[in-house]
């Protein structure tokens, strides 16, 4: 999981999303990037690299991620600007 110098505070929307995806999909790399740098913002970019995506089409992979963050999608998050779901092999890892 990649974190930058200013790690998100506990209980922000972004940190909740990160925790859930980490726990459920066990990514080797994860980026949850809020639009406009707002950790409680309503738009987000999510890039996940996980072995769990092996053998699954793009739509199925995104469904897996959406399932994990369903609650956030019903409320806090209005749109996922970009979602990239790769296996470690596809990500060159």
């Amino acid at each position: 999981m990649s974190t930058d110098a200013s790690a998100p505070e506990e209980d922000t929307v972004m940190s909740t999303i990160e925790k859930k995806i980490t726990s459920e999909l066990k990514p080797v790399k994860l980026e949850v990037i809020p639009a406009y740098g707002d950790p409680n913002g309503s738009h987000v970019t999510i890039n996940v690299v996980s072995q769990a995506f092996e053998g699954k089409r793009a739509v199925q992979r995104q469904q897996m991620v959406y399932k994990v963050i369903w609650e956030e999608m019903q409320g806090a998050i209005h749109a996922v600007d970009q979602m990239k779901c790769q296996t470690p092999a596809e990500a060159g890892m």
Partner: protein
Amino acid sequence: TEDQAPAQIRSIIDRYPIVLFMKGTRQAPQCGFSDATVALLDQLQVDYECIDCLDEERNPGLREAIKVFSEWPTIPQLYVGSEFIGGADICRDMAEAGELQDVIEK
């Protein structure tokens, strides 16, 4: 009612070979993503049905029910051959790669 929604959605996706659950109508889309997906399907020159998820009179509760049914939290949603294909981004990517045309032809 809530219980009937999945059955109603099932009957829609089984009845129409290509069906787009969208915001607004084909002639008057109500959001940019729905508009883009309509344009995409128009370019492919195929027959497709549009279901307006904002029309609470004709399709009460559909806006939420379709999200649960597809396990997909946003609209528009494209179904081809009773199978969920994806939202606006996935449809665009697939169209660019020629994959959407392949799926429709099957």
